[in-house]
């Protein structure tokens, strides 16, 4: 096994990787930009090295700085996490040249899967259905030609992309060039590669993906699927394992397809084969993510294995320690991505200081936070601050526990996606497992508006809310210095305080 490993990432995933390294006795080297000196990942590592100023292009995407840190620290391995350079073949190659084991696929494997167009060809040649689309588009003219062939609506996607970054939906020809520009710009700043391609937009499919593990020695297994249809702008917000949609037969066929693609690509290490599933039960290969996914914990909860540990074993030249037959799933798991975003302002990112943090706990609850009370969420990086993972004996049990855990969870100081999740958990459709990638766009705007209106049945409920507001109002001046409390109460509008005012007589 490795002696010392550089974690070329930040936030919750750097913390996640550090944890497994500690479990295995591997010494860890955290890297940090100037904005992350006080990051939790710095504290959870055995060593820490500054790699540059806040902008990611000068730090977490800075290959030279990362490789130098690894050299100086005397590391023998590097885990890239997800995002940043995780799927960058050049970076993997440069690690290799420096004698540093890159925990992930081979550079060739990365180049292959990183080229989404090439990955699609492999799937097609393996007999796995794909969504109609283009190769990488070389120019605006090329894009216009391809778009005409594919038809609208369509998607612009980053060739090196993932996590919804560098991806845009285009519903009519007039939007194409603007979307291309945005996608290229975002792709460039996120992945250091501005190349994009086009793909037909399927109407409200489900997003279902299979976790693959391959040791490069011939063993390729899958660790079930994940249902990731709850997305906003192609970013997943809730994932679950297994999918409520799959029956054993469909699961079997999709898993076979996923394993076949990985085999055809001579894939090594952890990977995820993404599919779209339409409501007739037809599935289409979308792409293969050649890295650990954000949502890997739901799989871990159900199969009882540590995916980062498996990654490290494989990277260290080991064989897969489990066979397909030994994978025995138990129960149901869901993940909620707690992000510093305000769901009531169109999911606008909102960095700031976390004044109070009380993660949920108790049976079936796992907390993967990248932050701590008193810490700062910087505006420089992804707004994901923590992942709440919930396990239950079955989906109903998991839903009940998730509702409880979301109710317990407290983050103060910044807005988060928690209120969004609480609302989704009350939706009968979600509870019935009925969802597709259009779920949030269809539902959230209405729900957000509904919660903005005070419409309480019971006077007592209303009174409790007023009491809370009054109490906060009073405590406010002493506790929150950055925000001036309103000087004049009569300036407050809407029912709340007015009611109270009116009831004084």
């Amino acid at each position: 096994m490795f002696r010392k490993l550089v974690i070329a990432n930040r936030g919750e995933i750097a913390v996640r990787i550090a944890r497994t390294c500690r479990d295995l006795g591997i010494s860890t080297v955290a890297v940090y930009s100037d904005a992350d000196r006080d990051g939790l990942h710095v504290r959870f590592a055995d060593e820490a090295r500054r790699i540059g100023p806040a902008p990611s292009t000068e730090s977490y995407l800075n290959m030279n700085a990362l490789l130098e840190a690894a050299r100086d620290a005397g590391a023998d391995a590097l885990h890239p996490g997800y995002g940043f350079l995780a799927e960058n073949a050049e970076f993997a190659r440069r690690c290799q040249e420096q004698g540093l084991v890159f925990v992930g696929p081979t550079p060739d494997g990365l180049a292959l899967m990183g080229d989404k167009a090439a990955a699609r060809r492999i799937a097609r040649d393996t007999g796995v259905p794909i969504v109609p689309g283009s190769e990488a588009v070389s120019s605006d003219q090329h894009a216009i030609r391809e778009a005409r062939r594919i038809g609208f609506p369509l998607l612009v996607k980053a060739v090196s992309g993932g996590g919804g970054k560098g991806m845009r939906t285009v519903s009519s020809p007039s939007e194409l060039l603007g979307a291309l520009r945005q996608a290229r710009s975002e792709a460039s700043s996120s992945f250091g590669d501005s190349a994009v391609y086009l793909e037909r937009y399927l109407h409200s499919p489900r997003h279902i993906e299979f976790q693959i593990m391959a040791d490069g020695e011939g063993s390729v297994i899958h660790l079930l699927e994940r249902e990731c249809s709850i997305q906003r702008r192609h970013q997943k917000l809730i994932e679950e394992c297994p999918s409520p949609r799959l029956d054993p037969d469909l699961r079997y066929r999709m898993a076979e397809a996923a394993v076949a693609v990985a085999r055809a690509a001579s894939y090594r290490n952890a990977g995820t084969v993404e599919f779209l599933l339409d409501n007739e039960g037809n599935f289409y290969f979308l792409e293969m993510n050649a890295r650990l996914q954000v949502e890997h914990p739901v799989t871990e909860m159900v199969v009882g294995l540590d995916l980062v540990k498996l990654q490290l074993r494989i990277a260290a030249g080991g064989r897969l320690p489990v066979s397909q037959e030994e994978i025995r799933p138990r129960g149901w798991a869901m993940e909620f991505r707690i992000a510093a975003e305000d769901p009531f302002r169109d999911f606008l990112p909102c960095p700031g200081r976390i004044d109070f943090l009380r993660p949920a706990g108790g049976p079936g609850v796992r907390d993967d936070s990248g932050v701590f009370a008193g810490g700062e969420v910087t505006p420089h990086y992804d707004p994901l601050i923590a992942k709440l993972i919930v396990w239950g004996e079955d989906r109903a049990d998991c839903l009940a526990r998730a509702e409880r855990a979301l109710r317990e969870y407290r983050v103060e100081g910044i807005s988060t996606t928690l209120p969004f999740f609480r609302r989704v958990l009350r939706d009968p459709q979600f509870r019935a497992g009925e969802m597709d990638v259009g779920y949030i766009d269809r539902n959230w705007r209405g729900w957000a508006a509904e919660s903005e209106t005070i419409s309480l049945e019971k006077e007592r409920d209303r009174a409790a809310i007023i009491a809370a507001a009054v109490s906060a109002y009073r405590a406010g001046s002493s506790r929150r210095r950055r925000i001036a409390p309103p000087a004049d109460r009569s300036a407050w509008v809407r029912a709340g305080l007015e009611e109270q005012h009116g009831s004084r007589r």
Partner: protein, 152 residues
């Protein structure tokens, strides 16, 4: 309304109610009212108090602070402020041009996500206060739209 020993008395529609308020303000306020226990999370912002109880959310808003993003001025103009710290990537409309309601005016990047900042109303873009590539703070003015006379 009176307060004594962490309890709070309010008369609501003539009926007296006794609240028992817990001692800790961070981590949410614990309220006991008529035997029922509530944990309310309260956040204070410049323009509003948000109270969340049992996964439901209630707003108390001020009328005298301009809204972030799109504050309608009395005259029918809108002054649009930066919703958070970030960077102006691109200006999508030139000063003097007409804009539709909800049309993107500024392409804005924050936390690695790009968002279009849109005009809240149809009218004419009369001023842009930022330039491409500029870093802005929360509530910095981005642009001003003068409403169409007919729209007022």
């Amino acid at each position: 309304m009176g307060e004594k020993d962490g309890s709070l008395r309010v008369h609501l529609a003539g009926e007296p109610l006794a609240f028992d308020l817990g001692g800790h303000r961070t981590g949410g306020v614990s309220i006991i009212l008529g035997g029922r226990s509530f944990e309310a999370q309260v956040s204070l912002e410049e323009r509003r108090i948000t109270v969340e109880v049992d996964g439901r959310r209630y707003l108390f808003e001020r009328s005298d602070v301009p809204e972030v993003g799109a504050a309608r001025r009395p005259q029918g103009d809108a002054e649009v402020l930066a919703p958070m710290p970030g960077k102006v990537i691109k200006l999508l409309v030139l000063p003097g041009e007409e804009v539709r309601a909800n049309q993107g005016v500024v392409l804005f990047e924050a936390m690695k996500m790009q968002n279009e900042i849109r005009s809240p109303l149809a009218g004419r873009l009369v001023a842009i206060a930022v330039r491409e590539g500029q870093a802005v703070e929360s509530r910095d003015r981005l642009f001003t739209v003068k409403g169409e006379p007919g729209e007022k």
